[in-house]
């Protein structure tokens, strides 16, 4: 893109550079680790194209400063984001500002570039995107069947309980039929007693979660009628000998000034993160990691959150997950694999990113030249389909049922006598509708809003409202009523029709409410199987796991809606069976944006896109890049 003349660009990126970026983000060097991506990228580009104008912002694109007026300044927006939330946000701003958006994503060998123009093509949200995968609480706490369940348990429950904020709710203890497993006892259990020997403490925790808790779970016969029973594991069996104090184990870990260099593996002389440890080795790591946290990082205990770049945390979580997996007969995994799952690491290579970057620029140039007929959604495949490795498809028309660009109302099934406004705000407005600063109204009654300039009594009022069940709000919300939800920054308004429903399935509908008209695709698991790209457990690592992950990286490679296999002429209706989206097709007439492969039987005599700097354009063109991932 920098090769074009008379270009001025703005680059927004909140991230700093990490070592793992360097295998593909080639504008960065090792010496840049820790610095702002936006700024370093800008400097690097200027070095080989000194004459362009790039303004970097080391900031979050969701920042209110980047409002609709800001976006209106640009001719095109290019996204290189790594999370769904930010993408949706930018999508809405581009719609509100009526600025074309070029979206893209990559995962391993797969990638795609899509173009979105308000009113002319689908917006980014017209086709539902897979949301980060969540798991029912009972699967995590009682009946795990996959390794990822063990990771979530180890990370979000055990690690959080031992090292994180203890005032937070934690589902760690199994719900047993015996009410004596009360929360009072559990608080005592996990806390280290005064002067308790660190190894004793470690073994006590080990025995509690891998031994006692499992025995408690086993006592509930119903749970195990159709499932394999787990076996309790006690430290005296997994690791019979008390470890002799490792000689200079603290020294081996280098200076305690650098907590990030402390490592249980190093201390135990275990070298390869690719090895799958035995139960005994996992137990050793478990105890050693716990010990190292308490001996070298005591100050952090009570406020730690899991960070995939925290070696000791990763070791602990791997070991804990593996011991639990062993208990439940689930295959064990290496630290390398576990880290990928726990950290939601997306596998990435320079080559796919280069291809996608090239495709982004090609589309961006079409946008700048208003070449509307030639916009394409392009898919980069791992295995060629019909001889094509790069497959262009014409954009679809906007989805008439899209609540984002077509203002279609949604319906919500909810128990209005039991669900609180807070549940609605968290689970629907923020999580599903992707609004960050919502205003919720019932008719003309303002039920809730977010803002800096609110008066104290309003804030108190809203806080009180959050704790009320819907039917008891000042303006009661019951079946048949309609709520209006709005985000001022995104300039998005949604009408939600409320339908009262008494019961919800705990496993299938864990939220206790169902949003209709906002279609969520079914489990992403089947699709992943088709795209298994390597034999290193990456099939799991490409999947975001719990709902709470900040770095949920999702390639928006839409497995189901790609590739119409039939060519469709202008006048026929679409019968694309693989597509989930409803209103794709225009019957005939002068509608654009059909589902059609480029018809290459015709002799195309169309004029070629002029690619050198536009001779008659004296205005500077501006381009926005919101890059958070690939270059």
């Amino acid at each position: 893109m920098a090769s074009q003349q008379q270009l001025s660009a703005v680059k927004i990126d909140m991230d700093t550079i990490e070592v793992s970026n360097l295998n593909r983000q080639f504008l960065f060097r090792r010496s840049h680790v820790g610095l702002s991506k936006a700024k370093v990228a800008r400097d690097a580009v200027l070095r080989f194209r000194p004459n362009i104008n790039i303004t970097p912002y080391h900031a979050n694109v969701k920042d209110p400063d980047f409002n609709v007026d800001f976006f209106k300044k640009f001719n095109v927006v290019l996204n290189g984001l790594d999370n769904l939330d930010a993408r949706r946000h930018v999508n809405r701003l581009c719609l509100a500002a009526d600025v074309p958006l070029v979206e893209s994503g990559t995962t391993g060998f797969l990638g795609q570039v899509t173009v979105h123009l308000k009113g002319k093509t689908e917006c980014y949200e017209c086709q539902p995107k897979p949301a980060p995968k969540t798991y029912p609480v009972c699967t995590i706490t009682s009946t795990p069947s996959k390794f990822v369940h063990c990771i979530v348990w180890a990370k979000d429950l055990l690690f959080a309980k031992l090292f994180g904020d203890t005032t937070q709710d934690n589902d760690l203890n199994v719900r047993s039929s015996d009410a004596a497993g009360s929360s009072e006892n559990s608080k005592d259990v996990f806390e280290r007693r005064k002067d308790e020997d660190i190894e004793d403490y470690g073994r006590r925790i080990f025995d509690h979660v891998f031994g006692y808790n499992i025995e408690m779970a086993l006592s509930n016969e119903d749970t195990w009628k159709n499932r394999n029973r787990p076996r309790p594991i006690y430290s005296k069996d997994a690791l019979p000998e008390k470890s002799i104090k490792q000689n200079g184990s603290v020294e081996k870990n280098g200076s305690t000034d650098d907590p990030s260099s402390v490592s249980a593996m190093a201390s135990l002389g275990m070298r390869s993160p690719q090895d799958v440890w035995s139960l005994m080795e996992n137990s050793k790591v478990f105890l050693e990691a716990l010990k190292l946290f308490f001996t070298t990082r005591e100050k952090e205990i009570g406020s730690l959150s899991f960070d995939k770049d925290d070696q000791l945390a990763v070791e602990f979580v791997t070991a804990a997950a593996n011991i639990r997996a062993s208990s439940f007969g689930i295959p064990l995994h290496s630290l390398f694999e576990a880290k990928g799952i726990a950290g939601n690491i997306v596998h990435a290579v320079a080559t796919t990113n280069a291809v996608i970057a090239g495709l982004i620029v090609i589309e961006a140039i079409k946008v700048l030249q208003n070449d509307t007929k030639n916009y394409r959604m392009t898919y980069c495949l791992e295995y060629p389909t019909k001889n094509m490795l790069l497959m262009p498809v014409e954009p679809f028309e906007p989805n008439k049922s899209c609540y984002v660009c077509s203002e279609t109302p949604l319906s919500l099934e909810i128990n209005t006598y039991q669900s609180k406004l807070r549940d609605f705000v968290e689970k629907i407005v923020k999580a599903k509708l992707g609004m960050h600063s919502p205003i919720i109204m019932h008719g003309s009654a303002l039920l809730y809003e977010v803002g800096d300039d609110l008066e104290e009594d309003m804030v108190a009022n809203y806080a009180a409202n959050l704790e009320k069940v819907l039917s008891e709000l000042p303006s009661p919300v019951t079946g048949g009523t309609m709520l209006t939800v709005e985000d001022m920054q995104q300039e998005l308004v949604c009408n939600v029709n409320i339908k009262h429903r008494e019961e919800f399935d705990e496993e299938k509908e864990p939220d206790g409410m169902v949003l209709v008209g906002w279609s969520q695709p079914s489990s992403t698991e089947k699709k992943e199987e088709n795209h298994r790209v390597s034999d290193v457990g990456t099939s799991n690592s490409s999947r975001p796991i719990a709902e709470l992950n900040e770095d949920a990286e999702i390639s928006t490679m839409e497995e189901t809606d790609v590739v119409p296999t039939k060519k469709r002429k202008l006048s026929t209706a679409s019968k694309n069976a693989t597509s989930p989206s409803s209103s794709k097709v225009p019957a005939d007439t002068d509608n654009h944006g059909k589902v059609e492969e480029i018809d290459d039987d015709d002799d195309d005599d169309d004029v070629v896109v002029m690619l050198d700097g536009n001779p008659d354009n004296t205005k500077t063109r501006r381009v926005v890049t919101s890059k958070n991932l690939c270059v």
Binding site: L22, G108, G358
Partner: protein, 322 residues
């Protein structure tokens, strides 16, 4: 695998790509030696990709100096002209590339390698050529095939907003993962000579990429007129079209299979379109990585991309099958 483990530094740097192709493949990459002859924009992109991937060594050969055209498409050339004094394109690019990954041995050599002996070529695992005549391409391809060691051969050409990659892996065995099973596969590749000159156009499938034919026409034109590669310009169009008609007649191919507009587009500019360079360099990079690691279905045997329709197509062309 021989016990050379990846170092801690390598594991940290290559983490994201190891999650794609595995530690074994990464180890093989770190032992691979790549030779590049002729550096156009697409090949510059390829070099960047392969260096980032962490190959053992990369040797560049291109004795030409810097030109305006090169500057517009090759981002490895520093804009500071004072640095050009006495340096070949290969040397300038080599200097830039070292920066991208200090763990890769990047170097430049001089000379017309088409005259070098087999010993020279046997030092490498992969040879990539661009900006060379049809004759040179065939010659180097041939040299690679004569070696007892398997040396993978690739050529990459970009003409304005279209490009082509040719792959020759001779007789190639590799493993493929299908549903958790590792399957052994074998492919036989034809040489560039065998298919470029020997294949009969009329026997190729009707749906064949038109770009393939167009490339052959221009290639032939350059050879006939003794032009340097990429030396065809818009003023040559009438002569090119005339040659096209002659070739079609000789090959019993309908003239409409090679649209005039397509040929016009290919010769309309001598500058490579940078995003196309990125796409070609990306695909080429991935192919070379596959060949070195022995994992994944390699491309057989042409990849063609045209920004005009946005398709990236694979064509399997061999005079024996056609």
């Amino acid at each position: 695998m021989e016990g050379e483990e990846l170092t801690e530094q390598e594991t940290a740097l290559y983490d994201r790509q190891i999650r794609v192709w595995g530690a074994d493949a990464q180890r093989r990459l770190t032992r691979a030696a790549i030779l590049v002859y002729g550096i156009n924009g697409a090949v510059a992109e390829f070099c960047k990709n392969i260096v980032l991937a962490g190959v053992g060594s990369l040797t560049l050969v291109d004795d030409r100096g810097v030109t305006e055209e090169a500057l517009s498409a090759n981002f490895l050339i520093p804009p500071d002209e004072t640095l050009y004094e006495g340096k070949s394109l290969a040397e300038l690019c080599s200097d830039s590339l070292k920066d991208f990954n200090p763990m890769v041995r990047v170097s430049a050599e001089r000379g017309d390698i088409s005259g070098f002996s087999g010993d020279f070529y046997s030092k490498f695992d992969v040879v990539v050529v661009s900006c060379c005549t049809l004759t040179t391409k065939k010659l180097i391809n041939d040299k690679c095939r004569r070696l007892s060691k398997r040396v993978a051969f690739y050529s990459a050409d970009c003409r304005y907003s279209s490009g082509e990659i040719f792959v020759d892996l001779h007789s190639y065995k590799y493993t493929k993962n299908k549903l958790d099973e590792a399957i052994e596969c074998e492919l036989q590749y034809p040489s560039f000579e065998q298919e470029a000159t020997a294949v009969s156009w009329s026997k190729l499938p009707r749906k064949m990429s038109k770009l393939y034919f167009a490339m052959r026409v221009i290639e032939k034109f350059e050879e006939k007129e003794g032009r340097s590669p990429g030396g065809v310009s818009i003023t040559d169009l009438p002569a090119v079209l005339k040659l096209k008609n002659e070739l079609c007649e000789a090959q019993s191919l309908k003239e409409s299979q090679i649209p005039d507009a397509l040929l016009e587009r290919l010769v309309s500019s001598q500058i490579e379109f940078p995003p196309v360079c990125a796409i070609l360099g990306g695909v080429l990079g991935q192919e070379v990585i596959k060949a070195i690691s022995g994992k994944g279905d390699p491309l057989k045997n042409f990849f063609l991309f045209d920004a005009f329709d946005g398709k990236g197509v694979i064509e399997d062309i061999s005079s024996r099958d056609a």
